[in-house]
Amino acid sequence: MKFALFTGCVAKGATRELMISTLKAAEGLGIDFVEMKSASCCGAGVIPEKSPLLTDALNARNIAIAEEQGLDLITICSTCQGNLKKSECKIDADPGYRDKINGVLREGGHQYSGGKIKVKHFAHILATDEGLALLRQKVKRPLTGLKTAAFYGCYVLRPSELSDFENPDNPTGMEKIFEALGATPVYYPSRIKCCGFPIVMMNKNASLDMSGNALLDAIQSGADCVVTGCPLCHLSLDSYQPEIEKLKAKGYSIPILHLPQLVALALGHSAKELDMHKHIVSTDGAMAKLA
């Protein structure tokens, strides 16, 4: 399997452990990721606040780069996934708009065709029958006994017409991956909620209450760790966790893992190799379950 890897900004910045673990997971699974080094930011739902046209032009350029490589584009961030899909859908629905965007791209040597490649989150390719069979085949250290709670990230679920999950109100893709790795999925209502990260600069109390409610739900449902496919959710749930009053009041904490870290652990990598010591919340408790 060979794909164009759209890293997104945060995997190269504040969550570099995501990038490291993605490459290790891919290597262990025999997946060939070709990093899209000239791809730009997806806009993260923020650039459209200033200019929807700029967002769509940037994402058309991003998808065009993967089209030129002849490879499906794989994201490792729910937010990148949702925003790339949103632009793709908008451009595909309006040939006049596509021509306008291609007019902007022309001088740079890129042209967006549409329909030539697919835009998929890493979780989507792992949650297919083929992906799950590959995981089962490659697992070296089954994550037996580890109770894992998925946290999907809004942008891979909503709006549902852009989601690749069969039932975005009750998705099972991440949980199927956990089972294939030998872990025990924990189903809890907040797994499809918002982490609050987009408003942490605007309304911090509300943002931390949102992440706090979700984490409390996961903890009270018996999870040993929360696993997310979105580095922005990771920042909210991990980096800000010591400030979450709802958890502080109860003396709770819970480790937050990136999905590729969980995969790479099951493929035999150590926590250190996956930079899990760089997390704000210690992952030792979860790792002890695997000992």
Partner: protein, 313 residues
């Protein structure tokens, strides 16, 4: 045969809500509201809920079905059963239950009032009506379809933690007037909507788009107001500064500068805001998680800069 597990709440009889099961047939073509009526008319006349038009026009019958807000008259019951044939009905969220499935809509209406949901034109009234071209109406067409059912309000993730948020329905209604070619108070409106509790407190969860039974799609309307606010120069708030800093970063390097964004979002002279960034910054620094100080551009950044220049023209 389906089991309707309905959350009952009759405060004058019992202070705590409870769930009651009702079994009924759900022949093909039966809407959820048909089933609720059937239960009320044949099994328990005290079951209380709002309804009127049965045609997804009046917006009265929104309830939570299996945990998510929906218009009861717009969905087929057979599509909503789980594997055991159960459908769970609860009152809308983020509003106080009054009895069974009826909630108190007062906060919802109060927030609609706050956005001044009426035309504010300047000058004397014309002899005939205030006219609008079809292409001008297109800008407010989507927001005009809102039937104020409260489904978006019920499932809004911000309202679950912050009652001061205006919420998706009021903000969609605000766009109906911010975008109206005949309204003359755009600047005042976007200034008010940029205050805490307004547009910049939307967390992008997309629940409102998902639950909206019409093409109103509140999240999309909120984004449209943000664009107008930025265009109108209403920049003195964290949300606007965040959007401008983010865009500047992409224009400069093709990718987000995560070190610059928080500082520029709170503002260089906002001492309290800057101090608030220290705990998370320090934690990340000590763990080696701070993004590289020297911000690297993407390969071929010149092309992205060219695109930005071209679109800025």
């Amino acid at each position: 045969m389906a089991t309707f597990r309905i959350r009952r709440y009759v405060p004058e009889k019992q202070s705590e809500p409870y769930y009651q099961d009702f079994q009924i047939d759900t022949p093909s073509g039966t809407t959820l509201l048909d089933c609720m009526n059937e239960i009320k008319w044949t099994q328990d006349g005290s079951l209380t809920y709002r309804m009127s038009c049965r045609s997804a026009i009046c917006g009265s019958c929104a309830v939570k079905v299996n945990g998510h807000a929906t218009l009861a008259c717009q969905k087929q019951a057979s599509d909503l059963m789980d594997g055991d044939g159960v459908i769970v009905l609860e009152p809308l969220g983020n509003l106080k239950p009054v009895k069974d499935l009826v909630v108190d809509f007062q906060p919802f209406w109060g927030k609609l009032d706050q956005v001044k949901p009426y035309l504010q034109p300047d000058g004397p009234a014309p002899e005939k009506e205030r006219r609008q071209l079809p292409e001008q109406f297109a800008d407010i067409d989507a927001a005009s379809t809102c039937i104020m059912c409260g489904a978006c309000y019920s499932d809004c993730n911000v309202l679950e933690v912050d009652n001061d948020f205006l919420g998706p329905a009021a903000l969609a209604k605000a766009q109906r007037f911010v975008g109206d070619s005949r309204d003359e108070k755009t600047q005042e409106r976007v200034k008010a909507l940029s205050e805490p509790g307004g547009i910049w407190d939307c967390t992008h969860c997309g629940e409102c788009v998902e639950r909206c039974p019409k093409p109103a799609r509140p999240f999309d309307r909120i984004k449209e107001i943000m664009a107008v606010a930025l265009e109108q120069g209403v920049h003195n708030n964290n949300g606007a500064r965040h959007a401008l800093s983010f865009t500047k970063s992409i224009k400069h390097s093709g990718r987000l500068n995560e070190n610059q964004l928080p500082v520029e979002s709170v503002g260089f002279f906002n001492i309290k805001g800057l101090l608030g960034l220290i705990p998370v910054g320090l934690r990340m620094f000590l763990k080696g998680k701070v993004p590289p100080i020297i911000h690297k551009s993407i390969d071929g950044v010149e092309d992205v800069k060219r695109i930005c220049r071209e679109l800025d023209k």
